[in-house]
């Protein structure tokens, strides 16, 4: 098979078609402390920019725009997780001028568009989602009370957020159509979703229904970003039209085999257990062996499940990359024997 461009490879995997190899991707940037450690272990200290680091390590250029939902004038929380506003409609009206501004893409988006048109880069964007954004305004604990204490405020926030997202999509697509996007939610933990399906259906699903069809109409793959165990919530998102979920944290109890079996058409991104990386080559190889059969079926982009932590040495990271390339090629070869399959 002829080598594919990054975009061709991404599309093939999303569509469960044969692919040349898996993309070598770090979907999330490394911890600052990780790069700092590696600088001390011989990594060129001038390498700091995310995309320069991708190039240095031989990773693919998956280029991300995180579209901010707040202006710099928005009140800052006093401490981590603290509120920016009180739980009332009046407080929301007061903060409204400082959030969800008209979006204008940075000049870099135009440059990236050229790379995308050559197939060299996969472009994606991220917006705060229908759980996350309200939480950043109300504070972590007040947000959880708000489902009962102030549902009308949550609905208002999400109505405005959905409308704003549509404007963001329009503006980005004026220059280049992103290949995929993520709704940042972080609504799950080790025990599964923080909210019930009933709460999801009332406060999140209707707003996904506003935005996801527009994404799909334009060919943008919608993905949800939520740490934790997404097993219970995966069908909720699938019913909302979401195509994929990342990072599928292994430590949170996620099992890719079960997810693939129950959601054969969904895209999974991540899931490589970062806790194997400090342990050495044998542990990392064993982890790749675990993931290979599912990756070869398509619909699964292996990547470190969340950020490579500072406990991983530069030497071990290079071992990880060597193994990643080995298994990326294996998965591609296996895919050409198995795919395409009929989408169920």
């Amino acid at each position: 098979m002829q080598p594919m461009t990054s975009r061709e490879r991404f599309r093939a995997i999303v569509n469960f078609e044969p692919f040349d190899r898996l993309p070598l991707v770090e979907w999330a940037i490394w911890w600052d402390e990780t790069i700092e450690r590696w600088h001390g272990e011989g990594l060129d200290p001038s390498l700091k920019d995310r995309y320069d680091l991708y190039k240095h390590f031989g990773l693919e250029q998956y280029k991300q725009v995180w579209v901010p939902g707040m202006l710099p004038t928005c009140p800052q929380p006093a401490t981590h997780g603290a509120p920016r506003m009180e739980m009332s409609m009046a407080a929301y009206e007061e903060i409204r001028p400082h959030i969800l501004p008209e979006f204008i893409p940075q000049p870099s988006w135009t440059q990236w568009a050229e790379e995308q048109s050559r197939g060299d880069s996969v472009l994606w964007f991220t917006v705060d989602g229908f759980f996350w954004f309200a939480r950043t305004l109300l504070g972590i604990e007040p947000h959880l009370y708000a489902f009962y204490d102030a549902p009308e405020v949550l609905h208002r926030i999400n109505e405005d957020l959905a409308q704003w997202m549509l404007q963001v999509i329009d503006r980005l697509c004026e220059v280049a159509t992103p290949d995929f996007m993520t709704f940042a939610e972080d609504m799950s933990y080790n025990n599964g979703p923080m909210i019930s399906k009933k709460t999801y259906d009332e406060f999140m699903h209707p707003y996904y229904e506003r935005v996801v069809p527009e994404l799909k109409r334009r060919g943008i793959v919608p993905v949800v970003d939520s740490d934790g165990d997404m097993t219970v919530a995966a069908p909720w998102f699938e019913a909302s039209g979401i195509k994929g979920i990342l990072p599928i944290e292994r430590q949170a109890g996620c099992d890719i085999s079960g997810l693939r079996k129950n959601h054969p058409n969904m895209l999974w991104i991540g899931h490589f257990d970062k806790m194997t990386m400090p342990a050495g080559e044998a542990a990392m190889r064993s982890e790749f062996e675990r993931l290979l059969p599912i990756a070869a079926q398509g619909g699964f982009i292996i990547s470190v499940d969340h950020q490579t932590p500072p406990g991983v040495s530069l030497e071990n990271y290079r071992i990880f990359l060597r193994l990643f390339e080995e298994y990326a090629i294996k998965a591609g070869a296996m895919s050409r024997d198995q795919l395409p399959r009929q989408t169920m």
Binding site: H80, E141, L144, N190, G192, I195, V232, Q251, A252, P309
Partner: protein, 211 residues
């Protein structure tokens, strides 16, 4: 269960804070002993909430409004409990370890501890080992509970436990740990006495430590 206590039980399950406050006062006015109100209605209600949480029937918001309702009732009840010489079933010192600012998990556990009848001394987040030690020396708890949400801060759990051991405060003290990156194996490795995967099981574990 007396009808007044049944209504109170249901109101806690439903998270009806205003009703709980009213119903606690009503039960007191009806001559029901405060420890009976607590132990035959309120604590069982929170135990039921914990079981519903473990069974996936209720989730974090539902647990929180129930715990808030419980706390509202306790606010009415506490002076009467004190007057009757009713003590908490135990004392807990809890905190998120040094370098970690996350507290939602810790706060849920605190709510469930209080719902189980414990007196809780919450040290907050980013708690240095010496702060844990000082609180243990002051409060004289039966249990100290450590929380961490990041893989980069879980090592501080061992640091804290080792410091407690060096300070000689681990005698007659149980250490329990929890948080997203924490496992039972990790808890054993660092010398903790127990690990709980969620707030409800943390309360059950704490109860088991004092019985």
């Amino acid at each position: 269960m007396k009808p007044e206590l049944e209504d109170l039980f249901e109101s806690i399950l439903d998270g009806q804070m205003g009703d709980v406050s009213r119903q606690v006062q009503y039960a007191l006015d009806a001559g029901i002993e405060p420890e009976v109100i607590l132990n035959e209605s309120m604590v069982p209600a929170m135990t039921e909430v914990g079981l519903m949480f473990e069974d996936g029937v209720c989730f974090v918001p539902e647990m929180m409004i129930s715990a808030r309702a419980m706390q509202a009732g306790l606010g009415i009840l506490k002076p009467y409990l004190k007057e009757h010489g009713v003590k908490p079933i135990g004392k807990v010192v809890i905190g998120t370890v040094e370098g970690d600012l996350h507290d939602i998990g810790k706060n849920l556990v605190t709510m469930m501890f209080e719902g189980a009848g414990f007196e809780v001394n919450d040290l907050g987040v980013d708690v240095k080992p010496e702060v844990f030690i000082e609180s243990i020396q002051t409060v004289q708890p039966q249990i100290v509970a450590l929380s961490a949400l990041l893989t980069t801060t879980t090592p501080k759990m061992k640091v804290s436990i080792d410091a407690m051991r060096d300070a000689g405060v681990l005698q007659n003290l149980k250490v329990m740990v929890g948080g997203a990156p924490v496992t039972a194996e990790f808890a054993q490795q660092i010398g903790a006495d127990g690990y709980a995967p969620n707030a409800s099981q943390a309360a059950s574990l704490a109860r088991s430590f004092i019985t």
